[in-house]
């Protein structure tokens, strides 16, 4: 196994306080069964899964409760045994925001009885069958974006130049990948090998930030033991957002993912270490995704730690298992403090997107939102991993100047939040970019609609003119016909009159 130490530097980025030590003291807490599960059927990107259970039905742990919907989707499974109490719309946290989704609500029985699938078979050898199994097993990007893994792997299968397995975990507070790599490195490595087999990758690079020496050691040992010549371990500098897909690719290869495309456009695919682990569980034991590791941390939680949490566990209950709240919790954050979003309540369920819950007190988060004027210090541009000029973008964003926004590369913003953190004027940048992106997309849609409407109107005008033309021609023809008929009739009358005259005068017929 070759150890890679890329000497390339990340464009931009900042060094942040990690806040990870507090949650990595205790081992992962396992075996929790909450009294109630609220399992969202649309946790992943793409279309919602379709429920296949009924209210009142008993379900076992790992039993499918929803099958993948049309297109990009993933299956959903009961995360513990119990009885379906309701199937209803609830608010659930997903990759980038809260979403209203159909949920299967289960009252658990505490038995945690596993599902015995009569039709369960071993890991298939055929790629299509493997992808189908991954899709039905509900595997989706466990780094937090929850993009269905089957679709992502399929998008690069057969032409993959390298599989990049992301254990960088650059976002502050989150330590679930770190703990998973420390505790089950062998299974992660086996999962990586299976993924590499699936997509036919000649290289499988596991990337870990340098601030996780135990994970690096554990994965290194497991990878050497596995002895697969495709495996590489890359230690990358601890700098946010080195763990972003585009940033990892830049850091490892020096290549850039072309604007508006995904890594598969240049033959790469990135997968989170947790996803590799889920794939290995599926392949070796047939288990679908019924739980994930969640970092429960922040100064506002009594016993910060990592927990193996059944999908659908209420967040409030999860916090109780970690000693409950401590002090004044100013904000409850889903994900890390850079890209994670604030939850309005803890009465929300854990989903496959829930990598971390930060119960933050005033001391550790931004609470003052007063702004000063921009002093053009350029720090925002210096730290931007996309090499944008946030100080110019924000002017265009406020003015909703769509031409400028487009020219300044708004859609290339990865919303990492570095610019907000370094801005000495405390100008709210990323949130304005998010909102401007929505407005720009709407503007583009509206423009497309209006140009389509214009074309439609023109076509209609042409049709109308054609009809008018046709009508006029028909009228002309009719008039000519009438005139001709009239002349004919007149000639007939004149002829008759002529004949009558001749008859009167006793003339012989000619």
């Amino acid at each position: 196994m070759l150890e890679l130490t890329p000497d390339r530097r990340l464009t931009g980025g900042i060094r942040l306080l990690a806040h990870k030590a507090q949650s990595t003291v205790e081992p992962i807490l396992r075996g929790l069964v909450p009294p109630e599960l609220v399992i969202g059927l649309h946790q992943h990107a793409g279309t919602s899964a379709v429920p296949i259970v009924e209210v009142g039905q008993r379900v076992a742990k790992g039993e499918p409760i929803a099958v993948p919907g049309p297109g990009i989707s993933a299956g959903v499974h009961a995360s513990s045994s119990g009885r379906v109490r309701a199937i209803e719309e609830r608010l659930i946290p997903t990759g980038a925001r809260l979403r209203n989704a159909l949920c299967v609500v289960i009252d658990t029985d505490g038995e945690d009885l596993p599902y015995r699938d009569a039709a369960a078979s071993a890991w298939p050898s055929d790629r299509a069958a493997q992808l189908d199994l991954v899709r039905r097993a509900g595997i989706a990007g466990l780094g937090g974006a929850v993009f269905p893994t089957a679709t992502k792997l399929e998008g690069v299968a057969g032409r993959c130049r390298a599989l990049i397995v992301n254990g960088a975990e650059c976002e502050p507070y989150i330590s679930c990948d770190d703990m998973l790599m420390r505790e089950v490195p062998e299974e992660i490595v086996l999962g990586v090998i299976r993924m590499a087999d699936l997509v036919g990758a000649p290289l499988a690079i596991i990337v870990i930030e340098r601030d996780k020496p135990q994970a690096i050691e554990a994965i290194g040992r497991a990878a050497r033991a596995a002895g697969d010549p495709r495996l590489r371990l890359a230690e990358v500098p601890t700098i946010y957002p080195a763990g972003g897909e585009r940033q990892l690719i830049e850091l490892l290869t020096g290549e850039e993912v072309p604007s508006g495309t995904y890594p598969n456009a240049i033959g790469y695919v990135c997968q989170n270490v947790g996803t590799a682990y889920a794939l290995q569980r599926l392949a070796s034991t047939g288990e679908p995704v019924t739980s994930r590791i969640v970092t429960v941390t922040g100064l506002g939680v009594a016993e910060p730690r990592n927990v193996d949490v059944p999908i659908g566990t209420p967040i409030g209950w999860l916090i109780e298992q970690c000693g409950g709240y401590r002090g004044d919790v100013a904000r409850l954050i889903h994900g890390g403090t850079m890209m994670g979003y604030a939850l309005p309540t803890d009465a929300l369920p854990v989903t496959k997107a829930t990598s971390c819950i930060v119960a933050a007190t005033d001391e550790e988060i931004r609470v003052d939102f007063d702004e000063w004027a921009c002093i053009r210090c350029g720090e925002c541009g210096a730290v931007c991993p996309a090499r944008l000029q946030p100080q110019e973008l924000v002017v265009a964003a406020i003015a909703r100047d769509f031409d400028d926004l487009d020219a300044l590369g708004l859609d290339d913003c990865i919303e990492c939040g570095c610019c907000d953190v370094v801005c000495p004027s405390h100008i709210v940048l990323t949130e304005r970019f998010r909102s401007a992106k929505r407005a720009l997309a709407q503007h583009v849609r509206r423009q497309a609609l209006s140009s389509e409407a214009e074309a439609r109107h023109k076509r209609r005008e042409r049709r109308r003119e054609a009809v008018v033309e046709d009508t006029r021609a028909a009228q002309e023809a009719l008039k000519a016909q009438l005139r001709a008929d009239e002349a004919e009739r007149r000639r007939a009358i004149e002829a008759a009159v002529e004949r009558a005259k001749r008859r009167k005068h006793g003339n012989v017929e000619p």
Partner: protein, 360 residues
């Protein structure tokens, strides 16, 4: 949808939380902190300046600062903007400090007062306040005063420790001159003021005297102008602190000094008696203050690293050209203002290539 009664024991009362948009991480810096640090960085140089040239700098600073803050407060009131919060950004004090360093130490009070007013009213608030001004406010005020009051604005004092027959003015004498334009009995302004080393060398070279001979003059110290060179050392130290603290980046200072010193070195090597050497240029006049504190004013400088190199090099070269061939002994203020005007153009042509886009 059908829902059965909820067993109440299974659910704790949900807690509600305030929300806010990400990122939640606290900002690592602030405008007032930056401005405070710039003032700290200038403090050692101000102390040395005071030791060599008396209290004029501090008196001028107080007057400029009062005028600047009063002007800013008045205009903010007129513009119906938050006064206290805006003044707290500290930018007016930094402008005042830079202007005070640029002014000669012996001046009647109304010159620094007018300077403070011009810097804030004309050069800053008329453009829309902090961050909107095209030109460096302190330099606008300095150049306006220099052009309007050329005699008063060249009343430079000789340094203490000169082997010139000279008794430095005390604090009380300085304040008396500033407020009442009165000097101690039997003394005139001419008895105190001297040309600056830059002026002396420039006139000397113009009179065909070789630089080697001028270097031996009592006004010249080890590297540059006597006294001035020590102010310069501490300015450079303050500049290094700004670099270390991440307040400024290296591009502008390096480019300004490179643009000034490179032609100085080349021409001095070609003709050592006709052109002053790089050490003299570095440690005289506004070179170090300009490189570290004036040209680095972010508002009136480009925002990209490459742009800052062009901008700084332009300032250095223009300063050298004005010092060597122009009508003024120092040219940094003019060079800064000229390059300020070029900033929008520089910014436009030095935009970095966005990630994932082809080279333009």
């Amino acid at each position: 949808m059908i829902e059965e009664p909820t067993p109440s024991s299974t659910r704790a009362a949900p807690r509600r939380f305030e929300t806010a948009a990400p990122p939640h991480t606290r900002p690592i810096s602030s405008v007032p902190r930056i401005m405070r640090r710039v003032l700290y960085a200038l403090a050692p140089a101000a102390a040395v300046y005071t030791w060599f040239f008396g209290f004029g700098l501090l008196i001028n600073f107080v007057i400029v600062a009062l005028a600047a803050v009063a002007t800013e407060a008045a205009i903010l009131l007129l513009r119906r903007r938050p006064v206290a919060r805006t003044l707290r950004d500290g930018s007016a004090l930094v402008t005042a400090a830079l202007l005070a360093f640029a002014l000669p130490p012996l001046l009647p009070w109304w010159i620094p007062a007018l300077g403070g007013f011009v810097a804030i009213a004309l050069a800053k608030q008329l453009y829309g306040g902090l961050g909107k001004n095209l030109f460096n406010p302190a330099m606008v005020a300095y150049v306006l005063l220099l052009a309007s009051f050329p005699v008063l604005m060249t009343q430079w004092l000789p340094p203490r420790m000169g082997d010139i027959d000279y008794r430095p003015l005390g604090f009380v004498d300085q304040v008396r001159y500033s407020l009442l334009a009165e000097l101690p009995p039997e003394r005139t302004v001419d008895a105190y003021t001297r040309a600056t080393p830059l002026d002396m060398v420039k006139e000397g070279l113009r009179a065909q005297r070789p630089f080697q001979e001028l270097r031996g003059h009592s006004m010249i110290g080890t590297f540059g102008g006597r006294g001035w060179e020590w102010v310069g050392n501490l300015i450079a130290l303050g500049g290094l602190y700004l670099l270390y603290a991440g307040i400024i980046r290296w591009h502008i200072p390096v480019a300004v000094l490179g643009g000034l010193l490179l032609p100085a070195l080349v021409l001095h090597l070609i003709d050592p008696s006709g052109y002053a050497g790089p050490a003299f240029h570095l440690f005289s006049g506004a070179a170090l203050l300009g490189a570290f504190f004036i040209a680095t004013d972010p508002v009136s400088a480009p925002t990209t690293d490459r742009g800052r190199l062009y901008y700084g090099a332009g300032i250095g070269l223009l300063t050298y050209a004005i010092r060597t061939w122009g009508g003024y002994p120092d040219g940094l203020a003019f060079a800064v203002l000229l390059m300020n005007a070029a900033v929008p153009l520089i910014d436009r042509y030095t935009q970095p290539r966005i990630y994932g886009h082809a080279k333009r």
